[in-house]
């Protein structure tokens, strides 16, 4: 395996023109991802995590009214320099995506088998019969019983967990090298969540894919991601391995997130600690750190300028008052 990262993003930006002025949903995010590793992108609603990832692969772009900038290298290829047709080829063959709500992400009037086989026929050149057979195999692989029968069913005939398994089957059908899971368990029952995450992890290990796991739930990221990138208001405020994040968070936001996780070991009636305030309006950015209004370590410096990224070994964070490191 080469040392060069499989996915390399530099200074990604996404902006929308709205009635209230330009809105920067993603404001200069950079990260690397090695093959075979899982990156967990963690953040609240509105932090820009979904928009970031979708803009990287071209699902959010000029056609949807967004301005996209930055460099995206997938296995050495600059995705931004590709023509639309070439980009579609990369999407189909090398990238697989699982969305949050399988009820809306599956076509309600198309049979399951066909939805799985579609990508195979287009990107792997299979004929209808071969694609249908492979679809049944994939359904079995993701743990759906009676796959032949299920392949001729419609999404509404299945439970939520099963539908998400189908979505995963679609995502891995063409043997992608990068798997993106955008809040894959948020719409599911808790009991099913773990099964789906196990399935994702198993598929990733078996196929050696790089994986991006987007979630607002640190607990989900904890068990499944190798590295974690914390996003807030469109910026990456901290990035480190999972261990480092949980052991020694540097960014006060990360610390606050960790503190707000309820623990079974806490005594009963412990008050849940929440982060006061609300995420900022991305159309009206101030000059200072976006988290400052809610941060307990805030001082005048935080309001004047945005903290630049500090590197510490393999990790990074953007704060004037990192916890645990020298101020």
């Amino acid at each position: 395996m080469s040392d060069a990262p499989f996915l390399s993003v530099r200074d990604a930006r996404v902006g929308f023109a709205t009635a209230r002025g330009p809105l920067r949903a993603v404001d200069g995010v950079s990260f690397d991802l090695q093959a075979g590793r899982t990156l967990g992108i963690v953040g609240e609603s509105g932090s820009g995590k979904s928009v970031l990832v979708r803009s990287l692969i071209g699902l959010v772009g000029a056609a949807s009214g967004a301005e996209v900038a930055g460099q995206v290298l997938l296995d050495g290829r600059d995705l931004r320099s590709l023509s639309p047709a070439e980009l579609r080829g990369v999407l189909g063959r090398d990238i697989g995506i699982v969305f949050q709500d399988p009820m809306t992400s599956l076509n309600p009037v198309m049979k399951i088998g066909r939805q799985i086989g579609e990508g195979l026929r287009l990107n792997r050149g299979m004929d209808a019969a071969a694609a249908a057979r492979r679809a049944i195999e994939l359904l079995a692989e993701v743990g759906i019983p009676e796959p032949e029968r299920r392949a001729s069913q419609y999404p509404h005939e299945m439970s939520g967990g099963m539908r998400q398994r189908v979505a995963i089957a679609i995502a891995i059908a063409c043997e992608p090298r990068l798997l993106i899971a955008d809040e894959p368990t948020t719409a599911l029952d808790v009991t099913v969540q773990r099964q789906i995450l196990d399935l994702l992890q198993r598929e990733q290990r078996q196929r050696g894919m790089a994986m991006i796991l987007i979630t607002h739930d640190l607990g989900v990221a904890a068990g499944r991601a190798d590295d974690i990138m914390v996003m807030y208001a469109g910026r990456a405020v901290e990035m480190a391995t999972t261990r480092e994040i949980f052991r020694s968070p540097r960014m006060p936001y990360t610390e606050a997130l960790l503190r707000s996780l309820p623990r079974l070991s806490d005594p009963t009636h412990t008050r849940l600690s929440a982060i006061p305030g609300r995420p900022p309006d991305l159309a009206r950015r101030t000059g200072g750190c976006s988290f400052a209004p809610r941060c307990r370590y805030r001082d005048t410096r935080c309001d004047e300028a945005q903290p630049a990224e500090t590197r510490e070994g393999g990790r990074g964070y953007a704060c004037f008052h990192p916890i645990g490191a020298g101020a």
């Binding site: 929308f16 809105l23 949903a25 609603s45 820009g48 928009v51 959010v60 949807s64 809040e183 948020t186």
Partner: protein
């Protein structure tokens, strides 16, 4: 969920507020002109629309006959203007009648529900079971052709649409808290209907009325075209087009001029109607 926020932001977020732009001037101007001429027709010294001069039949437009003459030598300009009068009378009164009756039916159905609603919906269904034109021409054929009967027939045709709009809106409003509040202070049904519900029905009804005007004008034109509308010799655009059909090869203006006038009027009505609807009720879908 951020995904939906992104989706929301990607839709053309800025919808410009409708203002009066120059494009409105042309259709509005045409409508004002037509209405003005129709109203003042008797006083501007037009030749008698029924006066035939067979020697001068089918003459193309000239200085003396600004729009030419028709197949019986009658002055086209004068006939068109008097025809406008007919069209406007029918176009405005018929839907008005429809909305009076249909609106009342719909309000009763939506407010009182139960058997009244069932009856009303059934009645509307039966009216709607006929293709509109077929019902209208059956009416005029057997009840007699006259301006009044045509207006009546087309008015009856407007009842279902009006009833549906008023019923749907009444259903929506009748369950609101302020109606409940009025009931608790002992207001009678009549009072609630007229004071609370009716004012809220007026905007959508008005919008619908505007649409109906152009539909009815076309319907009256169709009836007259078939010979089952306004009886000759009273001029009507539809009738003129029918008369002109014979002479398409020798004197196309006899058919094409009334056709163009009718088209321009309907187009202008639709255009202005759309603009007004956007201002009155912008939540409407873009249909």
């Amino acid at each position: 969920m951020h995904a939906s926020a992104a989706k929301g932001a990607t839709i053309a977020a800025v919808r410009p507020r409708r203002r009066w732009h120059w494009a409105l001037a042309l259709p509005l101007g045409w409508l004002v002109l037509v209405a003005f001429l129709a109203v003042t027709a008797d006083w501007i010294g037009l030749p008698d629309p029924a006066a035939q001069e067979l020697i001068l039949r089918r003459k193309p437009p000239s200085l003396e006959y600004l729009l030419g003459t028709d197949n019986l030598g009658r002055d086209m300009l004068s006939r068109i203007i008097y025809g406008a009068r007919t069209s406007l009378i029918v176009g405005i009164c018929a839907p008005f009648l429809g909305f009076l009756i249909g609106g009342a039916i719909g309000m009763s159905a939506g407010y009182f529900r139960g058997k009244i609603d069932l009856l009303a919906v059934g009645f509307i269904d039966v009216l709607l079971a006929f293709p509109a034109l077929v019902l209208a021409l059956t009416f005029t054929a057997y009840l007699g052709q006259s301006l009044f009967n045509v207006t009546l027939a087309l008015g009856i045709l407007s009842i279902p649409a009006a009833a549906r709009v008023s019923r749907a809106n009444t259903l929506a409003w009748a369950n609101r808290d302020f109606v409940l509040a009025a009931r608790t202070i002992g207001a009678s049904n009549w009072r609630i209907l007229t004071r609370e519900i009716l004012p809220n029905l007026l905007p959508p009804m008005f919008a619908f009325w505007l649409v109906a005007i152009s539909v009815i004008i076309v319907a009256e034109g169709a009836l007259s075209f078939l010979g089952l509308g306004i009886p000759a010799p009273q001029p009507s655009w539809g009738g003129m087009i029918a008369d002109g059909r014979e002479a398409l090869d020798v004197a196309p203006h006899t058919a094409l001029i009334p056709a163009a006038v009718m088209f321009a009027t309907v187009l202008s009505l639709n255009f202005v109607g759309d603009m007004v609807r956007n201002m009155v009720d912008p939540r409407r879908s873009a249909l």
